[in-house]
Symmetry: D2
Subunit: 152 residues, 4 copies
């Protein structure tokens, strides 16, 4: 399924995503970077660090979820009207393989855009040289809300 | 539903949980502490830090998910046989209120223990003085696996 | 967690639920009856029938999901304002034990009521004489929408 | 993502799926037919009937879930070893558009096959003439179990 079919409300959607992303302190703390921004699709890249592991040295499921959640949220945000913000209502993630690799890529894309609710699907890949192994899949519901005056 | 009905396999289950928890690097990175360990139930406490926030200053949904996931995993682990480990198969989380408070408490408990798969439910509370506001609910599936020789 | 804390908008919420329930053709087809209606809580009762089984004779997971989804939807509906309707946005269900019993009870209750989105949790019990065995747990997101003129 | 990469254990996997499907009483009750069986992929077709609707005349979310759950279960079953059975551990479904159409098609496919647990994704389409509108997406965890002697 391609995301070519999505037409963003804002011509500067990529800039709006970058600006919001730069304010996500957790992404900075984890060392995550924006790898790709297109209408209805955002990819985030995370370098492995032992500081974010669970008891076996694999990346903690919560960190895998963090980048998938942000990738889905920003994928929804590329299609949102001006002066709105996005918020995760809920998500579900399947952890499909141990998350141990030098780099992880979370690819979020919109399945169904809506005025109030947008549904997104993310795939998280473990990247090791030429290998790209799917480690997780997330299905998310995102709400689009008007930004209230005085809010960041 | 009380967890009194659960009888752990190991009399030293609390010590086994503490030992594994001390190896979860992410929990150390986030400043999480073990607040309560009982058969089928584990509570984790997280102090708010702006380093783990999203674009609005609220705790990032991925961090809320991280502590709920660990609380559920360790709740399952209290009932697991010796020489096994637990791993999240999948989880689903509803974010029900903005996560802004000095402290968060993730209360995980076993709904249905199994030899292979255990189902857990966690509630995450925002704690501000005497206020305890539910901010998230997580439903998780956890797999119990024998520890292979040579594994940590 | 008790649902005493919920105050419905409509004093005749039970009647409104009954009226809507009577129009859910699937519930009639399955033989489901309303067993309990209170603010924020609805129970539905389903007699087992081999016509709704899967390949092993157990109740099909989709039927378990059907009654849990309706119980959660009507639990949300007890707290909704007049001239609104409820619709499932999404749900997640864990099937925890084989669903084989003479009767099933789906107990849905509101975890967090909202103006737009309400979060509910349902437990499905297999009832056999005095035994009440939990067979499934569902976590749902429900949207409350104004009824448009001309709609039923 | 193509499912060409999956090699079934059994050369007669399609026959095994058909045989099990014929024993799913609920599918017969709903009038569902097997539309497509390939390694890692199964499509099921459902004609709309008012008997399976909710209060607005749309197909009940539980019926949408029933066909998506069976499509995912049989997609997993195409890759399962001989003398095993499949059972849904859990699933999560997003209802993305009103389910009103003459026919529905549930397309289940394996994302990650496993010896014990298989993860599947289903898309449910509303089919009306040449229109194919996605109405739901389901992410499922399925367990593969040896058939015990004496079981059907």
């Amino acid at each position: 399924m391609s995301s070519d079919r999505f037409v963003p409300h804002n011509s500067d959607f990529a800039q709006v995503v970058r600006e919001s992303f730069s304010r996500q302190a957790l992404m900075k703390t984890l060392g995550v970077t924006l790898a790709h921004v297109a209408p209805g699709e955002v990819h985030l890249s995370l370098p492995y660090s032992p500081a974010f592991a669970q008891q076996n040295g694999y990346l903690h499921a919560g960190v895998v979820a963090s980048i998938a959640d942000s990738a889905n949220g920003y994928a929804a945000f590329t299609l949102a009207p001006r002066d709105t913000d996005v918020l995760a209502v809920e998500f579900k993630i399947n952890l499909m393989a141990p998350a141990k690799a030098p780099t992880f890529l979370a690819c979020g894309r919109v399945l169904r855009p809506g005025r109030t609710l947008t549904v997104c699907l993310a795939e998280v890949l473990a990247i090791d040289g030429a290998d790209r192994i799917p480690v997780a899949t997330m299905l998310s519901t995102i709400i689009i809300r008007p930004v209230r005056p005085g809010e960041p």
